[in-house]
């Protein structure tokens, strides 16, 4: 019954050489390309795209860092160099629609690239999965996570930044009948601690790590799964769970991974 197929991920430049164009660019981003944990999210999301027969392609080696972390750290030069390279490439391939799993790249491409000549219709993967479900292109299996409690950590750049609060929740409620909110949720959600280039440096002196505090919020729900929708939040929540020695009781998974799991992709 189950048939394993090797996925050949389409690359924009290769399609272009055959005079073909995909409808969506899947913007993988640096974390999704290189971070071992985030790569699993990328792979899970590609399986969803394949499963739903979405017309997509990646930039491959034509993609370079979005410049987001450099900008948030105050290095506007590096940001704009990166942004302009990416815009030049994307415009040359006439990219119109973009999907990404990284809320930081989502924010920067959607809101900041436009000032520099890059105007695209940008989807976060949770918005895109929500759209696939609502268009009837993705039918979900409610058995896999039956009886499992799932909570959701709002990434700042997705929630507070871009008002995407309901789509991730809608998607999670399709696979779980036991979705539970943390005390601080939606616009009051606590940051995981990784944003604004914090991911790349040691935290300043304090009495606790931000991720530890946020993990406490998540553990207080007694959920079996902590869902996230951001590669940096993923790193932070995983660290928090390890710090609390709860990695055997609670799993931290991206929404794309949960969906791929529920469908056994």
């Amino acid at each position: 019954m189950s048939n394993k197929r090797l996925i050949k991920v389409p690359v924009v430049s290769e399609l272009a050489s055959e005079n073909k164009q995909a409808e969506y660019l899947f913007w993988v981003g640096s974390a999704g390309s290189y971070d071992d944990r985030a790569k699993k999210i990328t792979r899970a999301f590609v399986k969803i795209l394949e499963h739903c027969k979405v017309s997509y392609a990646i930039l491959g080696t034509d993609e370079t860092d979005s410049g987001d972390v450099a900008k948030r750290a105050g290095n506007e030069f590096v940001f704009q160099m990166q942004a302009m390279q990416n815009i030049e490439i994307m415009n040359s391939f006439e990219i119109k629609k973009i999907i990404t799993c990284d809320p930081h790249d989502y924010n920067v491409i959607k809101n900041e690239y436009s000032d520099l000549g890059g105007n695209y219709e940008v989807y976060h993967h949770t918005e895109f999965i929500d759209k696939l479900i609502k268009e009837g292109r993705l039918k979900l299996n409610t058995e896999t996570f039956k009886g499992k409690k799932i909570t959701y950590h709002d990434p700042c750049y997705l929630g507070r930044g871009n008002q995407v609060y309901e789509e991730p929740r809608f998607v999670l409620k399709q696979i779980s009948n036991d979705f539970v909110e943390m005390e601080r949720n939606r616009e009051r959600a606590l940051c995981c601690g990784a944003g604004g280039a914090q991911m790349f440096k040691e935290a300043e002196a304090g009495n606790q790590e931000v991720y530890e505090l946020r993990t406490q919020d998540a553990l207080a729900t007694k959920a079996d799964y902590i869902a996230t929708a951001c590669p940096f939040c993923m790193t932070m929540m995983m660290d928090g769970i390890k710090m609390k020695d709860k990695q055997d009781d609670v799993k931290v998974l991206d929404i794309a991974e949960l969906i791929a799991m529920s469908e056994n992709l």
Binding site: G74, Q80, A83, L190
Partner: protein, 438 residues
């Protein structure tokens, strides 16, 4: 009459002194860099209507929010009564507006609001000083900011109490049919105070009435002139500050045009003559208040130090030194100091101090996660993150003094196209051996 001349004189002085102090604040705000915020007028009015006039963000913390609405609405309503006081004061009339039908009902409504103001202020004092709500006692809440809060609350209580004693004495004099005290009908709340005052002679009551009247109006003049020295200036600036809110995504950070040109030259997209040649590029980011935009500086004067920003800041909640409220208070305090120097010594003013280091440390600046919990929480739409980012820009691009881990991250992006040291050629190694179950 001499009293009316004195009154008019005090009125003119109060307004003149207030005007002087407000123009100093306006001048200070204009020391900031110019930015054009003239777009989307209708959306701006809408935001102002909702957030400033409608207090939509205040009520997200319901207790303080509702009490604040009492004080805010009370403050505005009771000020209608100021109109009558001003006319009476200048012309020597008494309750000149009492010809208005149902005048006593109108005054009664004022009294209800005055009582609401007194009650709310008492609860606020209790919360600040007895319950000691945490956000009013963070380290940046030194003795002056705490005293400032208490002065405002006590003044408001005294002003409203004067209003009540004036009305009570007036009512008794009206009942006694004293000359000059036209009968207006009774006032809803002060009529309950009549038994307290009834034993006094008419002369004493006339003194009480006049004392209440003068205390009230002089108190208002004094308070008006206290506001520019106080965090309470938000009563004026909240409205324009919300009007000029950033309307883009909350996490949007502006792209620096000065950098855009340089990058375009570096990438060969335009040449130097197209970029406008020898234009002064100026400082990248902000080292001092003059490098911030006027909107950043308006934010600083709009802050009323409520501390809702700091109460939700992940860095502050985990014991780091960063407090978004302190960033704003420091910006305002430095601007006061800097503005004073500029007015005294002109452009050459240099006190060897800067906003970075002398007020805000690197430790605070680098602790921000740019999560925007602070900006979302702020009831008057102050943008703390924008100031922090301008400071980071200065540290990074002008001083090259970013933390070393941040420097390596940035160098990696420049060299490898990723914040880590991986080869750009491996960018889609993740796609190897990827299988799907069908």
């Amino acid at each position: 009459m001499i009293v009316n001349i004195i009154f008019a004189l005090i009125l003119v002085l109060a307004i003149a002194f207030f005007y002087r102090n407000v123009s100093i604040i306006a001048k200070n705000i204009k020391l900031g860099k110019s930015v054009d915020i003239s777009d989307n007028k209708s959306q701006r009015w809408k935001t102002m209507f909702l957030v400033a006039i409608g207090q939509s963000k205040m009520i997200k913390r319901p207790i303080a929010g509702i009490l604040h609405i009492f004080v805010y609405v009370g403050f505005i309503i009771v000020n209608f009564e100021m109109l009558e006081i001003l006319i009476d004061g200048i012309t020597g009339s008494h309750r000149v507006l009492s010809f208005i039908p149902y005048y006593n009902y109108l005054v009664s409504i004022f009294e209800i609001f005055a009582l609401a103001v007194i009650s709310a202020c008492l609860i606020f004092l209790f919360r600040r000083n007895i319950v000691r709500v945490k956000r009013f006692h963070n380290p940046e809440m030194t003795s002056w900011p705490r005293l400032d809060g208490n002065i405002i609350l006590i003044t408001e209580i005294l002003l409203m109490s004067a209003f009540f004693s004036m009305n009570t004495a007036d009512s008794i004099l009206q009942i006694r049919g004293e000359e000059h005290f036209v009968y207006t009908g009774s006032f809803l709340l002060s009529s309950f105070l009549i038994p307290l005052f009834e034993g006094f002679s008419s002369n004493t009551l006339m003194f009480v009435e006049r004392f209440g009247w003068w205390f009230h109006i002089l108190g208002v003049f004094a308070f008006l002139n206290y506001i520019p020295y106080s965090k309470h200036f938000h009563v004026f600036l909240a409205f324009p500050n919300v009007y000029y809110t950033k309307l883009k995504a909350r996490t949007y950070i502006s792209n620096m045009d000065s950098v855009t040109n340089e990058v375009k030259i570096a990438m060969g997209i335009i040449n130097e003559s197209e970029a406008g040649g020898e234009d002064e590029v100026g400082t990248f980011g902000a080292k001092d208040v003059k490098d911030l935009s006027w909107k950043n500086l308006m934010d600083a004067y709009t802050c009323t130090e409520c501390g809702r920003c700091t109460a939700v800041c992940p860095a502050n909640l985990t014991g780091k030194k960063l407090s978004p409220r302190k960033i704003i208070m420091d910006t305002r305090d430095r601007l006061e100091e800097y503005g004073k120097g500029i007015r005294k010594e002109g452009e050459k003013f240099d006190d060897k101090k800067t906003l970075i280091n002398d007020y805000i440390s690197h430790e605070e600046i680098w602790a921000c996660t740019t999560c925007n919990a602070c900006t979302l929480e702020c009831p008057v739409n102050i943008d703390h993150v924008s100031i922090i980012l301008e400071l980071r820009r200065y540290i990074f691009m002008e001083e090259s003094a970013a933390p070393s881990a941040i420097n390596s991250m940035s160098t990696n992006i420049e060299n490898n196209g990723a914040p880590w040291q991986y080869s750009a050629a491996d960018r889609y190694a993740w796609a190897d051996e990827l299988y799907i179950n069908e």
